[in-house]
Every structure is written in C-alpha cells, then in structure tokens.
Assembly symmetry: C2
Homo-oligomer: 255 residues x 2
C-alpha cells in the first residue's frame, strides 16, 4: 500500500514466492528461506516489509501468498528474467546454469526500454531469414573456433554481389593469402582488422602479447597521435596505448 519503489532484493523475494506458488500449494516461510538461501528471520522481516507495501498476505505462523498487486509485479519480474535467460541461452549459447544466474542479476539492472528492445531483437533474429537458426548455428561454431566457417562465407556469395566491399574482403581471404597484411600503425582510425602476426622477440614481443595483441584477435584503431606515437587501439574490449616501436611489430589482416 505504501510507496512503489522496490529494491532488487524485494523483487527477488516476490519472484521467489511467485515461482513457489506455481509449484506448491501452500508456501511457508521456510520454503522461501531455502529458495533464497537465507535464514528464517531474514524472511520474516522481509515479509513484513512486503506486507506493508501490500504485495504479500501473511498471518503470523501461517502460509504466505502474493496479493493481486504483488502477483502482477512478480509476473513482470519473471518476464524480465525469462527474456534475459532466453537471450543468453538461445542467442549467446551460454549454458543453462550460468544463464540462470546471470539473468537473475541482470533482471534488476536492465531498463524496461532496453528489455523490450532485446525482445524485439530476438524476434528479429528469428523472423529475418538472414539471421535465424542457420545463422545461429554458425555462431555456435564461431564460439568454438573463433572464425566463421568457410561455407558460411560461401553461402553468402550470391548475396554479397551487391556489397562489393565485403565481397572484396571475402575474395582477399580466399585468394592470395595474407595479401592484405599491413602494419598496425597503417590501419586508419575507426577501421578494424585481425592480428596476423607479431614480429620481434624478447621483452618487446612478450609485452605486446601480454597486452592481448595475439594473432587472431580483432583490433580496432582508435586514434593515432600526431607523430604516430602513441597509437590507441581497442582489442577484446580493452583500450590499449601502444608506442610506435611496439606498433611496428604488429601486422594486421582483414577480418
């Protein structure tokens, strides 16, 4: 009945009760404590908070149930959870256990608008034939090997005719191998490439590799300082600043 702001913890309790209601008839404090992994007094005290807010019904020593309002809110939370889980499992191919955990935490962090957009995205992947299940299979393969299968590229040949840039990239990859390798410092800002090889030896080579600049990684040029030193790049999400001498040991090929 009081104000409408729920903490993530309160949301978790509502969701837990909601899920217990779907399984069991009568819910006891103990069941909630077990589900949430907390002790009994913690549940009692949270229930009092939720009763105050008009979201839960509970007489001392009796069963617990959600009110209409509580049920409505819990359903929303459960939906957030479900959408996130399904994104993690069906699109990102995260394993079910971890997906469950992550969905549980992320459901309190994602905004309503972003959630709806994520749902739309999943629908799109499913509906648009350029994405869909075949495409996701290639993603599974990419998860394992870090590169798309050749036949993923070949499949697209006809389609790619209209996209000459990409077509050229593809030809380059299939034709003269490594033909396109350039020095990292020659990559223009905003462009991406794949690390082809790192030359040099000893500590300079080690330092470069330690930064995550390893063959196969995708690198994006962010900024080249006036005299070409330092060079700022992004690799695996990291922003790195390379000195000129370091950058000249790194060769980059097409994606």
């Amino acid at each position: 009945m009081s104000e409408g702001l729920l903490t993530p913890t309160m949301e978790d309790y509502l969701e837990t009760i909601f899920n217990l209601e779907r399984r069991t008839k009568a819910i006891r404090v103990k069941d909630i404590a077990q589900s949430m992994g907390v002790k009994l007094p913690t549940v009692t005290s949270m229930l009092n908070t939720l009763i105050q807010k008009g979201l839960v019904n509970h007489e001392k020593y009796e069963y617990v149930e959600l009110t209409g309002e509580g049920s409505k809110i819990a359903q929303e939370i459960d939906r957030r959870h479900g959408i996130l889980r399904s994104f993690l499992i069906d699109i990102l191919k995260i394993d079910a256990k971890l997906a469950e955990e992550d969905a549980c935490k992320m459901e309190h962090a994602i905004s309503p608008d972003t959630l709806e957009r994520l749902l739309l995205f999943m629908e799109f992947v499913e509906v648009c034939p350029r994405a869909g299940s075949e495409w996701l299979k290639y993603f599974s393969q990419y998860c394992r090997d870090g590169r798309p299968k050749d036949d993923c590229l070949e499949h697209m040949k006809g389609f790619l005719d209209q996209y000459s840039t990409k077509l050229k990239d593809m030809e380059a990859r299939k034709g003269v191998k490594k033909m396109a390798d350039i020095l990292l410092k020659e990559l223009s800002p905003g462009k991406k490439g794949r690390i082809a090889r790192v030359t040099g030896s000893g500590s300079i080579r080690r330092r470069i590799l330690d930064m995550g600049i390893v063959p196969g990684a995708i690198v994006e040029m962010e900024r080249v300082a006036p005299l070409g030193d330092p060079v700022e790049v992004k690799v695996k999400g990291y922003h790195l600043s390379l000195r000129k001498d370091e950058a000249s040991h790194v060769y980059v090929g097409p994606l």
Copy 2:
C-alpha cells in the same frame, strides 16, 4: 591490500576515478562527489575503504589517484562497461544516453564468461557476412515497423533455396495472403506464429487484447492441457494461460 571482494559501489567509485583521471590532471574529492551524485562525506568514507584495500592513494585534503592495482581493476570495469554499451548501441540500437545508464548497472551483474561471449557475438555479427551492417540496418527498420522489409526477404531468396521450410514460409507470405491462418489452439507446442486477428466482441475480445494478444504480436505455444483447456502461450515474454473459449477467438499466421 586487504581482501579482494569489491562491492558494486566500490567498483563504481573506481570506475569514476579512472574516468576522471583520463580527463583531468588532478582529481579532488569534490569531483568524485559530483560525478557520483553523492555528498562529500560519502566520498571521504569510501576513499578510506579503497585506501585500505590498496586501490587508491589519497593524503588528507590532497588529490586522489588510483594505485597500480586500482587502475588495473578500474580498467577491467571500464572494459565491461564499454562492451555492454557497444552492444546496446551498435546492436540493439538503444539511444546513447539510456545505453550508458544501462551499461552502468549491468556491468555489475554480468558474469565474466557471459561478457566474453557477448563480445564474441558482436565480433561474429561483424565478421559473418550473413549478419553485418546490412543486416543490422534491417533490424533498425524492424524496430520501427515490427516486420522485416520485403526486400530483406527477397534478398535472401537465392540463399533460401536450400532451406525449404523457410522458403515455403516466405512463399506463403508473398503468395496467397492469410492462407496459413490457423486457430491459436491448433498451434503445436514449441511452435511460434504471428497473431493474425482476434474475433469476437465485447468483454471477451477486450480481455484477450488486454493480455497483449494483439494482431502482429508473436506468440509461442507452450502447453495445451489434456482437454485443450487451458492453453498456455508466451507472448512478448509473458506467460499467459488462455481458456479454450478465449483461444478459439485468436487466429495465428506465419511469422
């Protein structure tokens, strides 16, 4: 120097200091308070905690800076943030401001494995020519109109030859319109379709529409009870339970 467990709040402070260090030379308590939207004493007390952990250097009334360790951790957090933001902006097309907010909250919720997978996914979208920028353009369009453009489907015609099921779907959609509409209750479990129309009138129709079962929405059949009543479906992430008489007012077409 003490234990290694950081709360989300501590992570936020580290990240804030890290970002301030990139902009300004000397950082004061006031700057942090302003960035974080808290009062000065809150910052002082958090700084003491972080000093204790060996992540921050700060002499009374002096400037604040991250230690090596603090900087390393902050960089990781910043990376999480950056990857999430880029997913939200570049893939989901969320507007920059909201993306920033969401990334900020989600960065504390996502697990390392899931984060890496998300990064891989983004690389895949970029690298695999079946996805890529053209495909994402169609997603932008789908965000607006709720359906893929016809030319998105046509583009794929050649490609789809090998995928007869999808091809048939496509033909159905372009050919005899609405030919494939069936009653919702006839949809088999696990299958999805698009709501074509809702018949009936008055309260029953309103109730159906209020549940989110509206033309254009994508629906998945989850379970049909033994006697066909109730029917459990998922629409826009919601789990709904429909009575037989409700379900027989709903027609479903192909995706």
